[in-house]
């Protein structure tokens, strides 16, 4: 396979005295002077004359495994053995292209560029060896960091060739491997940081500590949208260790303009005590009238009539309902969900007169850099964003509001400052998964075939909340998602609901609600039709392989053949045709998102309390080529546990404009003893790699509730399933 390297992604090479071959994509951005490059990682890979091979992990590692998977792609084409390379987390560096953790995009969007980076370096090393030996390059072979001469036993290590290779022109085009020849991609590689994690190394955002760092906590309006009226710093300043109390005006925090009062202290405990001691008076504003109940009422009103936006209208649903043999109606409700990253929001900034250094956990280092410039006016080339390992993302850290607080405070007091959100801050000032209501109506003919489907929904659209230009239904509803396109009369309407309650992206945005609703309601229709759930889905999909239009992330089309394949395979994996032992029940759901396909079966028993106990979960996933099956399975396991936890327990309540819950005692998470056995199969594929980090989450809630219905006869239409341990 020959791949042309276009101008934009052309490889640049520079020889550093004694440092060997340094390669990085030029993306039209500034280039730092070579001498700082030795100290600042600024390229995808580096081979030292001492034989050291360093590969940069370009994207933030939030637990999704890209610090392992992305370097594997480079190492594959470079032909080095996994054991001989050193992997380093890249700081923010424009030459590396987009450094972003979100939308399950890291592998799919970097696949070609990283392969070219490795292949180009290898081509130059091969050429250097050919020159040394005076033979055609075709007679040289690269393997495990060494070039061998096919005519005789000569060999040269990459380190020995590095200097000569650095003097060569970068090839205009490179040969990429046939996937059949991969030796590293597709092999199980443990997380490269596991030993550092297991021994407690200080690798997370909260662990950094520049000299002279102070710690700040921030008091914010308990009522969403409230404004600061006054504050009295005196009692906070009396706490030993508290150095300053600083007001942050709404305009000082550019992303979402949320004001606060910061307590800056010499140690964390003083900052926490100072925050408690601080006396602040807030003007609650009209947010105080909001509650979960009022939002529910508003949504009920807005879904009783036609929605504000018609997202899809195939055929004529009204005619379908008039002609129907059976009409099934149901209302589903989804609550706000809290992100609950185990590492609470924190960030460190050291703003000097003409330079900023910052450290911490973010999914968007570029956004930190951008806003650091906006807040301070310091040019972006003097802003250094150090990327730590991130203690969980799940979409929360796509917003860098907490980083801006650190930058603002450090700028104001001219000292390095770490902002720390306590768990209570993190929970009560989160950007929750939007709340929503989904009113459904289905028509069945005499054979149980679905002839009409109408869905009217209303959610607290995160794009509306943010004042974003994107259409407000985006990441809330998916007009092309299954079963749209398979039912002749199909209507989808949507109304965005304004609220002061902050909302944002939460793992598998939108899909984490719509898949639950669609796959649960399909199961209701299936029960009404008296059919088997898997057979019913397959019948709906049809026998023919079709590319369905899909105008959203993961599109432009999806394959019914691949969806059908994962469904059939999960049926086989879970022995769907065999009956279960008495007392055990199962449910099914399947989904397409972000380019990948998943089907899941959940088996439950009932506890004495009547609550479901999840015994086993089966998942089959087709995400194209799998770079690291060990990491891929971790993501699937994690998404399943995450989805079960949110389905069983996840629910933020709002009362008088405030979040009711405050910590893990009243916002429970699934724990060790409730963790089911998980059996996973990855479809062996040569298709382009697709997003994997979120795919296993959306169907698991529906599969669980579909199983629970068979166990208990109760249909769960409002989450969470359990409140205070009781079935809600």
């Amino acid at each position: 396979m020959i791949q042309n390297i276009n101008r934009r992604s052309f490889l640049k090479t520079s020889s550093l005295s004694g440092a060997g071959l340094l390669l990085g994509f030029s993306l039209g951005a500034r280039t730092r002077p070579a001498e700082t490059s030795i100290f600042e990682p600024n390229a995808f890979l580096r081979i030292g004359t001492d034989g050291s091979i360093t590969i940069m992990a370009k994207n933030p590692e939030i637990g999704q495994g890209v610090k392992t998977a992305l370097p594997m792609i480079i190492a594959e084409e470079l032909d080095v053995s996994w054991e001989q390379i050193t992997i380093r987390q890249a700081d923010y560096d424009r030459r590396l292209g987009s450094q972003f953790a979100g939308g399950s995009t890291a592998v799919k969007s970097n696949w070609e560029d990283l392969r070219k980076a490795g292949a180009s370096a290898k081509a130059m090393l091969l050429q250097a060896a050919a020159n040394r030996w005076g033979i055609p390059v075709a007679e040289c072979r690269a393997r495990a960091g060494t070039v061998t001469n096919t005519r005789n036993p000569d060999s040269l290590s990459y380190g020995q060739l590095a200097e000569a290779a650095a003097a060569l022109e970068v090839p205009e085009s490179v040969v990429l491997k046939d996937p059949a020849d991969f030796t590293l991609i597709g092999t199980a590689r443990p997380n490269v940081d596991t030993e550092a994690i297991a021994t407690g190394q200080p690798i997370f955002g909260l662990d950094a500590k520049p000299r002279g760092m102070l710690t700040a906590t921030i008091v914010k309006s308990p009522v969403f949208g409230g404004t600061l009226k006054s504050f009295d710093a005196e009692s906070a300043l009396k706490i030993p260790g508290v150095e300053a109390v600083v007001e942050i005006e709404a305009a000082d925090n550019p992303v979402l303009r949320i004001a606060g009062v910061a307590v800056v202290a010499r140690n964390t405990w003083a900052a926490i005590k100072g925050k408690k001691a601080l006396e602040v008076v807030w003007e609650a504003g009209d947010g105080a009238t909001e509650s979960t109940g009022s939002l529910r009422d508003t949504m009920a009103e807005r879904t009783a009539e036609s929605g504000a936006m018609e997202l899809r209208n195939d055929g004529d649903v009204d005619t379908a309902f008039s002609a129907a043999d059976q009409i099934i109606e149901a209302v589903y409700e989804m609550p706000f969900w809290y992100h609950a990253t185990m590492e609470p929001m924190s960030y460190i900034a050291d703003v000097r007169e003409d330079r900023i250094e910052c450290w911490g956990s973010t999914q968007v280092p570029s956004s930190v850099s951008y806003y650091a410039n906006q807040i301070t006016g310091i040019p972006r080339e003097n802003i250094y964003v150090h990327q730590s390992r991130v203690g969980g993302g799940f979409g929360r850290r796509l917003l860098a509001d907490y980083a801006q607080e650190a930058i603002y405070l450090s700028h104001k007091i001219q000292k390095p400052v770490q902002v720390l959100w306590t768990r209570e801050d993190d929970l009560q000032h989160d950007y929750y998964r939007p709340m929503g209501r989904y009113q459904l109506k289905g028509a069945l003919d005499g054979n149980g075939v679905i002839t009409g489907w109408q869905i009217r929904s209303a959610t607290t659209s995160r794009y509306l909340f943010r004042g974003d230009d994107s259409p407000h239904f985006k990441t809330e509803m998916f007009p092309d998602g299954f079963p749209a396109g398979f039912i002749p009369n199909f209507k989808m309407e949507y109304t965005p609901i304004a609220t002061r309650v902050s909302t944002g992206a939460w793992r598998a945005p939108g899909h984490n609600a719509t898949c639950f609703v669609d796959q649960s309601f399909l199961d209701e229709l299936c029960v009404a039709a008296g059919k088997d759930p898997i057979a019913y889905r397959l019948e709906l999909l049809g026998e023919e392989d079709r590319e369905m239009p899909y105008d959203d992330h993961g599109g432009p089309t999806y394959s019914t053949g691949r969806l059908r394949n994962v469904i059939r395979r999960v049926a086989a994996l879970s022995d769907w045709e065999q009956s279960l032992p008495a007392g055990r029940f199962r449910g099914f759901a399947a989904h397409f998102m972000f380019g990948a396909y998943v089907a899941e079966v959940v088996e439950v028993t009932l506890r004495d309390s009547g609550a479901p106990k999840v015994e086993r979960v089966f998942a089959v996933v087709d995400c194209g080529i799998v770079v690291n099956p060990l990491g891929a399975k971790a993501q699937i396991e994690g998404g399943i546990i995450d989805g079960l936890s949110a389905t069983l327990y996840g629910g933020i309540d709002i009362d008088k404009g405030r979040t009711v819950q405050s910590n893990f005692h009243d916002y429970p998470m699934l724990r060790y003893g409730e963790s089911p056995e998980i059996i996973i199969e990855l479809v062996d594929s040569t298709a382009h790699p697709e997003g994997l980090g979120e795919i296993s989450l959306p169907p698991v809630g529906a599969a669980l509730c579909n199983a629970y219905f068979r166990a208990s006869g109760k249909r769960v239409r409002s989450l969470p399933l359990l409140r205070n341990g009781e079935v809600g």
Binding site: E61, I62, G63, G65, P190, N191, D193, T194, E195, I197, A198, T199, G200, Q201, P202, I203, F204, L206, D207, K209, T215, G241, N267, T268, W269, A270, I272, A340, T341, M342, E343, P344, R389, G391, G392, F394, L420, T422, R423, L630, A634, Q635, E637, G638, G639, I640, I641, D642, S645, N663, F664, H665, M669, L670, R671, Y672, G673, S675, E677, I678
Partner: protein
């Protein structure tokens, strides 16, 4: 400010801290032992689990003034003689961590259990591990790692 003498990872440290300071912040802020993590501040998540005379304790709610002469072990002190602790080795063998933030606490809980009870039943393991939340959902691999050692 009072002064405390602490026995941490078989070393003596003297620190100045307010009496109500949780041991967590003494470890992290004063002694630069960053392996013990802040998760919830109210003993709900287990990210700050350490050993106090060999028993698991939540450092986020343990005032430094209450430690007395108890021996403290943190994740940094779990390995000994240049050898990783068997629980650390099992964690690596099963590739447990995803984000990894909770794992020091998970490992400390498991190590304390196995120290006291080398052959726990599944129910005993559940009780010991129930206080540690993993938001990434690594429980299946934690289970396998512990089963390696039982």
């Amino acid at each position: 400010m009072p002064t405390y003498s602490l026995d941490i990872n078989q070393q003596q440290f003297t620190v100045e801290a307010e009496a109500d300071t949780p041991l967590l912040w003494v470890l992290r802020d004063e002694l630069d032992l960053k392996g013990t993590k802040f998760g919830c501040g109210m003993a709900q998540c287990g990210a700050c689990t350490i050993h106090l005379d060999g028993a698991p304790a939540r450092a986020c709610v343990l005032p430094v003034s209450a430690v007395g002469e108890a021996r403290i072990t943190t994740i940094e002190g779990l390995a000994s003689g240049g050898q990783l602790h068997p629980v650390q080795k099992a964690w690596i063998a099963e590739d447990v961590p995803q984000c990894g933030y909770c794992q020091a606490g998970q490992i400390m809980s498991a190590a304390a259990l196995l120290e006291k009870n080398p052959h726990p039943t599944e129910a005993e393991i559940e009780v010991a591990m129930q206080g540690n939340i993993c938001r990434c959902g690594t429980y299946p691999r934690i289970k396998k790692a512990i089963q390696r050692l039982v």
